[in-house]
């Protein structure tokens, strides 16, 4: 057990996931990830390089992935915006890689040292065109370790750029955690393949080796990477395959935590750092006699539509606090599909929600509901 910083846990999680290549560009509040990688990776014979900007950082990561390394970068909002082109490239070329975005207040330079959750939609839809996306969040230092390790595993399994969203507070806070020992560097064994082995589509990721003759291109291409004669349909098929693969493993990928939800009449749906305040709010509301529970989203994308829909059928209202002016509220509303009223609590001023603000909001919603219930008679309101 020792005190570990969130950004340090990201580094440890990456190493546990087999990371042996880091390319980055300094940016607050993600910089410690890069600084620690620069100290650790050389002693493991792994690669660290500081690139000239964030586009270059993710470009180098993608190049390294095709060179046979497990590669990542970390950044914050402005850098994440710059990386969008290469996130799209990684999706189109089915290149496994991991991108950590420690969110800070935007838009633009915003408040570099203050937390936000304003990149949740950009993480899903930021690059042009369609793509499958896996986006993970964390609400504790231990979580940061776990989801970063998982991101490396899933990047390989689904051949996607997997995105981990942290925030300025989570990156910089320290918690006592027990982390497993750092594993030895993975041995790199080139995989021998037939020269005509298809390199794309539902085939495993095989980096360049002496037995491959792979063409990687962001142009529409078929399973063999051929662009000549490839039509839009081929590219659509590749994206549809990715979406189907993620969809097939929905239960594995879509992770969440149910907290005191079983008998709840009110549900809070929260993610990342905000889930901590929400958990405290649940406890305090329970003490005052209101049956409130929390659904904490660990996986943001794919969005847990089914789980939310079922939850909505069992409660009289849902509140979503988030550190933006209302972003995940939209997929939430779509998933609730009118089964329960949905309220949004948003702020983008760099402050965290305090538990009592969430408590007050739930109490206000509950009183209003009670008033409505007494007028129309009945309803699901508790005594």
């Amino acid at each position: 057990m020792r005190l570990v910083q969130g950004n340090e846990a990201a580094v440890m999680g990456a190493l546990a996931g087999g990371c042996n290549f880091y390319a980055g560009y300094p940016i607050t509040p993600a910089t410690e990830i890069m600084e620690q990688m620069s100290r650790i990776l050389p002693s493991r014979g792994a690669v660290f390089i500081q690139m000239e900007d964030e586009l270059a950082a993710l470009g180098a990561v993608i190049g390294a992935a095709w060179g046979g390394m497990r590669a990542m970068t970390a950044t914050s909002g402005p850098g994440f915006s710059l990386m969008q082109e290469h996130i799209g490239y990684a999706a189109m070329t089915q290149t496994p890689c991991v991108v950590i975005d420690s969110q800070r207040v935007g838009p633009s330079t915003g408040q570099p040292t203050m937390p936000a959750q304003g990149d949740v939609m950009q993480a899903r839809w930021g690059s042009h065109g369609d793509r499958a996306a896996i986006v993970l969040t964390a609400s504790s230092v231990k979580d940061v370790f776990d989801v970063t390790r998982l991101a490396f595993e899933w990047a390989q399994d689904y051949r996607l750029p997997v995105i981990v969203l942290l925030d300025a507070v989570l990156s910089h806070m320290r918690e006592n955690v027990e982390l497993p020992p750092v594993p030895d560097p993975i041995a790199r064994k080139p995989v021998a393949v037939r020269e005509d082995q298809p390199a794309f589509g539902s085939h495993p990721f095989i980096p360049f080796s002496g037995s491959t003759r792979t063409i990687v291109s962001g142009l529409s291409h078929d399973e063999r990477g051929m662009t000549r004669g490839a039509i839009g349909q081929d590219a659509e098929q590749i994206i549809r395959n990715q979406l189907a693969e993620v969809d097939r493993d929905y239960k594995r990928i879509v992770q969440f935590r149910r907290y005191r939800l079983d008998d709840a009449t009110w549900a809070i749906v929260a993610y990342g750092i905000t889930a901590r305040a929400a958990r405290a709010a649940v406890n305090s509301l329970r003490e005052s006699g209101l049956r409130v529970g929390l659904l904490e989203l660990v996986t943001l994308w794919p969005f847990p539509e089914q789980t939310i829909h079922e939850l909505a059928a069992s409660v009289q209202g849902i509140l979503m606090p988030e550190l933006n002016l209302g972003q995940m509220i939209w997929p939430l509303k779509a998933s609730v599909a009118g089964l329960a009223p949905v309220s949004s609590m948003g702020r983008a001023d760099g402050e965290l929600f305090r538990p009592e603000e969430i408590v007050q909001t739930i109490n206000r919603l509950d009183h209003r509901n009670a008033a409505i219930s007494s007028v129309i008679g009945g309803g699901k309101h508790h005594a």
């Binding site: 002693s43 014979g45 690139m51 470009g59 993608i62 003759r213």
Partner: protein
């Protein structure tokens, strides 16, 4: 010089041909010269990776039967840097256009040169954006026309050689598609050179540059290359007036300086790590 077709086919991905390049375009000659240089160096195609950016030049990787990447506009050297570091045993050849290297990717160009990482950048310079239909490039000479400088360019053009030298490239050469015999030699030297090497090749674009500037077809453009350049070693024989408006050709730098992947290996070793592939 080998005869056409002699022993070059092992490098070619023939099912991707014919190429996208227009009749009279110089890029096919550069492609041929790169292939010649592979043969001269007796490189194993399985140990080569050819990477390209976006644009006419960027299509080159498709035609090599090697591992290949067609990347994003301007960023190809970043991809190449990652690939080379991940697999330093690969010979990594980068094809880029003047827009790729000098406009959108100028930042990556100077930093790859500064690091002196062992990549070979072949810069196809046709003075214009060809793929998008003839727009002004940072290499369009002053007063020349393009579809976005219809009244003539008022911006001075970049001098790739000066830029590469200033940024720290350790092998820098320039030639033209007219000087076909020099191309494979320079490219082979650049590939064999252990550091960041740049070969700028002035290429002709009859479809846009030639037409928009009423310079004629490929033969006239090749003659234009001949009359607007001089060999560097001939400079002492020429008057100042004879050199005005002309670019020098030849090898401008060929020297050994610490190379990035080798320096990185040393750093790892000093830290107890084993970086070797």
């Amino acid at each position: 010089m080998p005869k056409i077709g002699e022993d070059l086919t092992s490098y070619l991905r023939q099912n991707m041909m014919p190429t996208v390049w227009c009749p009279g375009c110089g890029h096919g000659n550069i492609f041929r010269a790169i292939t010649e240089s592979f043969r001269q160096l007796e490189l194993d195609p399985s140990r080569i990776a050819v990477l390209g950016g976006i644009g006419c030049s960027g299509r080159t990787p498709f035609y090599f039967n090697t591992n290949a990447m067609h990347t994003t506009h301007g960023r190809v050297l970043a991809f190449a840097t990652g690939l080379k570091l991940a697999n330093p045993g690969l010979t990594v050849v980068v094809t880029m256009g003047d827009g790729d290297a000098l406009a959108i990717g100028a930042g990556h160009f100077v930093h790859a040169a500064r690091r002196n990482i062992d990549l070979t950048a072949i810069l196809y310079n046709n003075s214009i954006y060809g793929m998008t239909g003839g727009q002004e490039a940072p290499s369009t000479p002053l007063a020349f026309r393009s579809t976005t400088s219809p009244f003539g360019s008022i911006e001075p053009a970049f001098d790739t050689v000066e830029l590469a030298l200033a940024a720290g490239a350790t092998y820098v050469a320039r030639t033209t598609t007219f000087d076909f015999a020099d191309m494979p030699r320079y490219i082979a030297e650049a590939i064999a050179h252990p550091g960041f090497s740049v070969v700028e090749i002035l290429s002709q674009c009859p479809t846009y540059f030639g037409r928009l500037n009423r310079l004629g077809e490929a033969p006239e453009l090749l003659d234009y290359e001949r009359t607007h350049t001089f060999l560097r070693e001939d400079a002492p024989l020429l008057t100042k007036e004879e050199m005005v408006g002309k670019l020098p050709l030849g090898v401008f730098r060929n020297e050994i300086r610490p190379e990035y992947t080798k320096e990185y290996a040393k750093l790892c070793e000093a830290q107890g790590g084993n970086y070797s592939v």
